[in-house]
């Protein structure tokens, strides 16, 4: 659990067209269950954020999707992507970091569809968490 997204996908030869197909199927599945276009777009925005990170690893700007309840998360990210920055007012240095942990596949004996993005840095005040969609279900149940 909690392995980093790039590490998870590194052995799978995942290409951008595959990622696009996953996003397409996810969008269609959401639409088939009458999820509003606004929410679908928000979910796919989250997924697009993952794509950027998988294929072009670098700090990226999160899009605000705050999650208040964290008790259903069961893994912790272990990628930290960020840079040292300086507060222009205080001149104090801080680490502006973004954490990612994404699983969009079968995970052991569970199905899961999880994306977690954590942003930590100046201006945020404290670590914030972002979750796209999560579902865990034992295979065969």
């Amino acid at each position: 659990m909690g392995r980093a997204m790039r590490k998870v996908y590194s052995g799978l030869d995942l290409q951008p067209e595959h990622f696009k197909a996953f996003a397409l199927h996810l969008g269609e599945a959401l639409a088939a269950h009458n999820v509003s276009p606004k929410v679908i777009n928000a979910v796919l925005d989250c997924v697009a954020l993952c794509k950027d990170y998988i294929f072009h690893p670098r700090p990226v700007e999160h899009r605000a999707l705050p999650v208040e309840h964290r008790d259903y998360l069961y893994s912790l990210p272990d990628i930290r992507c960020g840079h040292l920055a300086e507060n222009p007012a205080s001149k104090a240095s801080y680490f502006d970091a973004t954490y990612f942990d994404v699983k969009l596949t079968r995970l052991g004996t569970f199905h899961s569809l999880i994306m977690e993005v954590t942003r930590q840095g100046q201006g945020v005040g404290a670590t914030q968490h972002y979750l796209c969609l999560e579902k865990v279900k034992p295979v065969g149940v």
Partner: protein
């Protein structure tokens, strides 16, 4: 409200994920990824 909550109930999310997997497994270009153990 979280995206998870906006999508609907736990049952709704479960149905959506099942629907998503059905679509992935029917897609020859990506079905192997969905079966990968990580």
């Amino acid at each position: 409200m979280t995206l998870y909550e906006e999508v609907g109930s736990e049952q709704a999310v479960e149905q959506i994920v099942d629907n998503f997997y059905d679509r992935v497994l029917a897609d020859d270009t990506v079905k192997d990824f969905s079966l990968t153990q990580i």
